[in-house]
Symmetry: C2
Subunit: 142 residues, 2 copies
């Protein structure tokens, strides 16, 4: 059902500086950059490793593009740090339904657009041991 | 240098309940359980996926065994949630030295004992964008 750690999302104030840190100090390569206007974030995906389901694990660096975005509010409350964990699946809608059947609130009734053409749904952190959790179906073209 | 997301460490109050949640709701298998008296934690490793460096990615669930352990203090301050991210390397001492050369404070001058016979070193979260970061060299027997 969930076959990999797809990414760990990290909130930061300065995307360029944080990207440079992870690239220069840890050696991770930038795989992708985009702006997600719906979520109010500018983001960089750093590829860490391939996974045995044929996909990969990334770090996702997130900088808010506006003060009322969820990531801006997270930064104001918590400062920089881990924002969420995302697990990969081949069927985001089916997996969201199965997880919802266990009593976990699925925040996106219809999967929405994530990084690199993926389709995603968030789960309520209070139902997941305090962890904001995302499930991700990668794009076929990824 | 760092070739995988080795694990994401999650602090919890009730290890049995949190393990059951991840197993039953997300389908992750328990790979290992142990108590690390030095760190004051009881822990469960849940295997999520294999990685293309020949190792694997895990979730590490952490319950404190005493009130003065770092994880107990984290829970008192932040509540349940993500505690740290760990990246895998084939040479923890060499990688710690290289990362320290970039100005990141390495909290363990000598690598110490981690999960499943691994050797680990922690990096200062203030030097890693607010993320408590661990580097891990897996045991040959893992």
């Amino acid at each position: 059902m969930l076959t990999r750690i797809d990414h760990v999302g990290i909130a930061c104030h300065d995307l360029a500086a944080t990207t440079a840190f992870y690239r220069d100090t840890f050696g991770f390569e930038v795989a992708h950059e985009e702006v997600n206007e719906e979520q109010g974030v500018r983001e960089v995906m750093l590829r860490v490793n391939g996974t045995d389901d044929g996909e990969a694990s990334y770090l996702q660096l997130l900088e808010p593009t506006r003060d009322d975005s969820p990531v801006a509010k997270f930064l104001a409350r918590n400062g920089e740090g881990v924002h969420h964990i995302a697990f990969g699946t081949s069927d985001v809608a089916g997996t969201a339904g199965a997880i919802g059947g266990h009593g976990v609130r699925v925040l996106d009734a219809q999967p929405r657009a994530g990084s690199m053409g993926s389709r995603i749904a968030f789960l309520h952190p209070k139902d997941c041991g305090g962890v904001l959790t995302e499930i991700v179906q990668a794009s076929d073209r990824r």
